[in-house]
């Protein structure tokens, strides 16, 4: 009774910040002159970013953003310093990963404010009026649609909560009513009991998922950029993962109330936080980031972002898919084993 609220308060306390810390950005300095070095130094010394530097061609920019580790790419054109000193104007390009618009906007703001601080600080005494113009682009989300990354996040959350809760409650209900005993005494195999509980909810959740997709496309104006069948495949996999989790929860209790409480309240907040769709994962202490790897929703969220919002193919998400498959197999094995042990 005390554990749950306490854990949730701690979680919230650490995670609840929409500030950006330790965001991974990539800087391509094509000019390599005094000015760019100074700006880059300033960016590095701020605590907001972890910076990776290299000179890269334009084609590689997108592939860096695709992988999802880098939130933003900052590009200095070749004659940055010269342009600044001689014409009073120079440009710098900022390309951000728009699939998480709020974080992207925050990063862009930080960068532009650092740059403009540099501008005022170093050249306040210059004779020419002086401007560094950042050209920003939100890749994958040119319109800056703010709710974009919420949708995959909400999808993951809803599927997780609904599947887990419904499955676990339904099994525990049989235990409570006493019909479970009768099933077990009959030739009905224990594994079939679990399967027959999970399958209807699998189908139901797929229908649910379809509804959410339709709503997103037609009401929220989200474009599904990727392969639809890949999307469905991954979602089916995730649903099965959640169902397995529900089976596991059902083994731990004989009361429907506890099952419901665990599935909904217990899972809701950790899922919201550790998925990283509301509060960026980079902000959280290392231990949280490690824990988030245990949450299936986090992997699914990444997959959905890549497939639905960025239009990427299977070769970009195979790692996450493998993780989900592994988790499912593990959960199913443990649930079945536990289920059998309880019979003895």
């Amino acid at each position: 009774m005390f554990g749950l609220p306490l854990v949730q308060i701690i979680l919230f306390g650490f995670a609840l910040t929409s500030e950006v810390k330790n965001a991974h950005i990539f800087i391509s300095d094509n000019a390599q002159d005094v000015q760019t070095t100074q700006i880059i130094q300033k960016i590095k010394s701020s605590s907001y970013f972890s910076v990776e530097e290299a000179v890269i061609g334009n084609k590689k920019i997108e592939s860096i953003l695709r992988r999802g580790n880098t939130r933003c790419v900052l590009i200095f054109p070749p004659n940055f310093g010269n342009d600044l000193l001689h014409t009073g104007k120079a440009q710098v390009q900022i390309i951000a990963d728009g699939s998480d618009p709020n974080t992207a906007k925050t990063i862009i703001n930080y960068l532009t404010s650092i740059i403009s601080e540099y501008q005022h600080q170093v050249y306040s005494t210059a004779s020419l009026p002086f401007q560094i113009i950042p050209e920003t682009r939100m890749l994958y989300n040119e319109e800056g649609n703010g709710s974009l990354n919420y949708i995959p996040g909400v999808m993951a959350l809803i599927l997780m909560i609904v599947c887990t809760a419904l499955t676990s409650v339904s099994i525990v209900k049989e235990k409570e009513l006493g019909t479970m005993e009768v099933l077990l005494v009959s030739p009905f195999k224990p594994v079939m009991v679990l399967i027959s509980k999970a399958v209807p909810y699998l189908l139901l959740s797929l229908v649910n998922f379809t509804f959410i997709l339709l709503l997103s496309v037609f009401v929220l104006d989200v474009e599904i950029k990727g392969n639809l069948s890949l999307l469905f495949f991954e979602s089916t996999l995730f649903i099965i993962t959640c169902l397995s989790f529900g089976l596991l929860i059902s083994n731990t209790t004989n009361s429907q109330q506890t099952a419901l409480l665990l599935s909904m309240m217990g899972m809701m907040l950790p899922t919201i936080i550790f998925t990283g769709f509301l509060f960026p994962l980079e902000n959280m202490p290392l231990i949280f980031r490690l824990i988030s790897n245990l949450v299936p929703a986090k992997w699914y969220f990444t997959i959905i972002k890549c497939v639905m919002l960025k239009g990427l193919g299977f070769q970009y998400v195979w790692k996450e898919t493998l993780v989900l498959i592994g988790m499912t197999i593990f959960l199913l094995t443990v649930s079945l084993k536990n289920f059998k042990i309880r019979l003895q």
């Binding site: 009513l177 006493g178 005993e181 005494v185 019979l343």
Partner: protein
């Protein structure tokens, strides 16, 4: 050669240092109505679970319908019926749906199920209510229905775990009529109960106290042995010595 329905020899179930079932031995004949009595906590339910193939004994032997409880649990399950204290029917399904479900679980074919279920609802007088939900039935009817469903697949033995809890004496009497009919058709009845008047209806009765079998005989003989007028008294004399309280 008449095969015994249930044979138990030195059956023991231990949980750590606790002997839930302590070296019990008994036999049940085919077609017998066998009362398995004992106070709460005496070990009846544990013993029944072993016989139903739900749990492994720690030591000792037992065969049910000729199959042993260690490695033939699946065969046991196919040949027994079971009715639990909670009546075990799905309240939000109709009578027919419940019958069809359990018929299917026990491997009956569709035509068989159809034929038997029609006869069943007629015999019980529930033909008109056949499509109604079980949840709406009065307790006595649910109980009769649960029993009928338990023997629907004509098992060799049916295990009844306190089947008449909470029901009025008239309905209980009617229920026992059904039990007699089933026994007459060759089904062995293994029943646990707290109602001592029901103990009188059994062919033989055993009484468990603190995990051990303290008495096994016909009700008549037990009454003579303990110089009692009723099974109630016999039970009281034996069970009050028990040290364990609740299951």
């Amino acid at each position: 050669m008449e095969e015994k329905a249930i044979i138990c020899k030195d059956l023991t179930k231990q949980f750590g240092g606790f002997y839930a079932v302590n070296n019990i031995s008994f036999e049940v004949n085919r077609g017998e109505i066998f009362g398995f009595l004992g106070a709460n906590g005496a070990g009846k339910t544990t013993a029944m679970r072993i016989l139903c193939g739900l749990s492994f004994p720690t030591s000792g032997e037992a065969t049910v319908a000729g199959f042993n409880v260690y490695n033939q649990q699946e065969s046991i399950k196919k040949n027994i019926g079971y009715m639990s204290q909670k009546f075990s029917l799905y309240e939000n399904l109709s009578i027919m749906e419940n019958i069809e479900f359990f018929g299917g679980v026990y491997g009956l074919s569709r035509p068989e199920i159809k034929e038997r279920s029609n006869k069943l609802v007629e015999d019980l007088g529930l033909k008109k209510e056949a499509k109604k939900m079980v949840g709406g039935l009065p307790l006595g009817w649910k109980q009769k229905l649960a029993f009928s469903v338990a023997i629907f697949h004509r098992p060799k033995i049916v295990f009844l775990d306190e089947p008449t809890g909470g029901v009025d004496p008239v309905t209980r009497r009617q229920f026992w009529d059904m039990i007699y009919d089933a026994a007459a058709s060759g089904i062995t009845i293994f029943v646990t109960t707290h109602y001592m008047d029901e103990a009188e209806y059994c062919n033989r009765v055993s009484i468990m106290v603190d995990g051990r079998l303290e008495a096994l005989d016909t009700p008549g003989n037990l009454k003579k042995r303990f110089s009692s007028d009723s099974m109630d008294e016999v039970f009281y004399n034996l069970a009050r010595r028990a040290l364990r309280k609740d299951d």
